[in-house]
Amino acid sequence: MKNAERINSLSDLSLGSACQIVSLELSGLLRRRILDLGIVPGTLIRSIRRGPSGDPTAYLVRGTLIALRSEDASQILVKKLSNGEECV
């Protein structure tokens, strides 16, 4: 149970798996952009694919695909889903 509560950054999320947003450590314009897209604490997010060179990663949030660079994703903190929660 303790293990499920461990907090990671979004950039460490392995491809295809889902997790829940804990907090945004971003600031300024980018923080607002991310909030506007509905990436708020509590939101479920799933990593879908990486770009050809492996950098921007596309995430599925609320039915929309959004690509983020790893530098930005690393400032978004997430926790693993406990089993049985709905998928994104």
Binding site: R31, V40, G51, P52, D55, T64, L65, A67, D72
Partner: protein
């Protein structure tokens, strides 16, 4: 007394408010946004049934292909070559047809003017100046635009363009720019002024400026008919079979060169006057849609083709009159046109062009569409050839004025890398709000264009290749 104490209270209250805001930092606003989204979620759960499942599956299959490690880039290049191949092959016959019809009508116009007993100079200005330039602009410009714009709008409507930004972002990041710059470059294919305006999608001011200053390195619709015409005459024409596909490859090569220059200049700007690190990228990848045929036709024909053609015609008509007058008013032995061209000739020769070509580019400042028509007009008004009716005869005109393959390559290079048109400069000024940036957007491509042509010409001449 009262006023002083109340103002002190006010500043105290302000200080306290600041303190509260700083201690809670973002958590308060986060809570508001989270609540709004929570509410919206509740509402959508009530009123929407989820039908999107299979759509996401369909998107996945296409995305697996177009953003894959192995097929992502080759597919992008294939699309580029494909679009230009269709444009060149498709434009070939209508261009020839339009040219023969429009020039046949010119002879008819001449007859009417003679019948009316109009003075020679009226006939010269209106028919040989205005009408002939217009005929050229329409014959050269209209068919490629009428094919390219619908194709481009189809790609835009289908949702593919953001995938280009997704694929290319890491390269732009290395140049310390934004991946969305590739979208503004796509808009630049249509029109650089539109491309500059579209730079508003880039959030970081530094990266937006980089995108604005480099947009001109994508050949716009006013330039690639020129590129297509010259390639067809000098490169594709030399290898008769498969000429269509070879022309498409050459044009694509020129565009790739433009992209390479864009990235290099973006990087150089980031290292010098626009210092900074790449900021963030938030890019939405929308679902693929079946393009709406009606909307595609409307947007590409009315909004784009006719809009651009109209602009070209408005500028070409007076330009045609001016060129004819310049070519037919004599100062001593030479016409004004020849005098200016002769003055520019040493500089032109230095970079593998000639005085007339350089003058055509300068006179083409209002719109790049009219560069080739001006050039042909200038050659025709001075040379022995007075009339011709098909695009193939263009080769004879150019060759008889001393063109070699090196001249052709230099004209294409200079067309890709020279100052932006007046509209683009004005748009840059409006978007950046500064004369300094507008001037730089003029200076950077001009310097690069002159240097590139100069180096190529000197190297080729050194090895005695042309």
């Amino acid at each position: 007394m009262c006023a002083i104490s109340s103002s002190r209270n006010l500043s105290e209250a302000y200080g306290q408010a600041e303190y509260v805001r700083k201690t809670y930092r973002n958590s308060f606003s986060d809570q508001i946004v989270a609540d709004i989204y929570g509410n919206a979620e509740q509402i959508t759960k009530h009123v929407l049934t989820n039908k999107g499942r299979h759509r996401i599956g369909f998107d996945q299959i296409i995305d697996n292909l177009v953003t894959s490690k192995w097929f992502g880039y080759p597919l992008m290049i294939l699309l580029l070559v494909g679009v230009f191949w269709i444009t060149i092959e498709g434009a070939n016959i209508p261009s020839g047809l339009l040219a023969s019809v429009l020039f046949a009508f010119q002879d008819q116009l001449t007859l009417w003017f003679q019948w009316l007993g109009a003075p020679d100079w009226v006939h010269g200005v209106l028919v040989l100046g205005v009408y002939r330039t217009l005929a050229w602009v329409v014959a050269v410009m209209l068919p490629p635009m009428a094919i390219f714009f619908p194709l481009f709008t189809l790609l835009e409507d289908s949702g593919y363009l953001p995938r280009i930004a997704f694929n290319l972002d890491h390269i732009f990041k290395k140049a310390k720019a934004c991946g969305k710059q590739s979208l503004t470059m796509c808009m630049g294919f249509g029109c650089n002024a539109a491309g500059v305006t579209s730079c508003r999608i880039i959030d970081s001011p530094r990266e937006r400026l980089i995108a604005i200053l480099t947009n001109n390195f994508v050949p716009c619709n006013g330039r690639f008919p020129t590129l297509i015409a010259i390639t067809s005459i000098f490169i594709g024409g030399a290898i008769a079979s498969y000429s269509g596909i070879i022309n498409a490859l050459v044009i694509s090569g020129i565009i790739l060169l433009g992209i390479a220059v864009t990235l290099t200049v973006s990087w150089l700007l980031s290292m010098t006057i626009l210092k900074g690190e790449p900021s963030s990228l938030v890019l939405e990848l929308p679902s693929y849609r079946r393009p709406k045929i009606g909307a595609v036709i409307y947007r590409s024909v009315i909004d784009r083709t006719l809009f651009v053609l109209r602009r070209a015609i408005i500028i070409a008509a007076p330009a045609g009159a001016v060129i004819w007058i310049l070519a037919n008013v004599y100062i001593g032995e030479l016409s004004i046109l020849s005098t200016v061209a002769h003055a520019l000739n040493p500089l032109g020769k230095l970079i593998g062009l000639d005085g007339f070509i350089l003058m055509a580019f300068i006179l083409g400042l209002p719109a790049n569409e009219i560069v080739l028509p001006i050039l042909i007009m200038s050659y025709l008004s001075t040379g022995s050839l007075q009339d011709f009716s098909s695009l193939e005869e263009l080769r004879n005109v150019l060759v008889s004025n001393g063109w070699t393959w090196l001249t052709a390559v230099n004209v294409m290079l200079f067309s890709l890398l020279h100052w932006p048109c007046a509209t683009t400069l004005l748009t840059t000024y409006k978007e950046t709000g500064s004369k300094k940036w507008a001037f730089l957007s003029f200076l950077i491509p001009t310097l690069i264009g002159f240097s590139a042509c100069f180096i190529l010409t000197q190297v080729v001449r050194l090895f005695g290749l042309a």
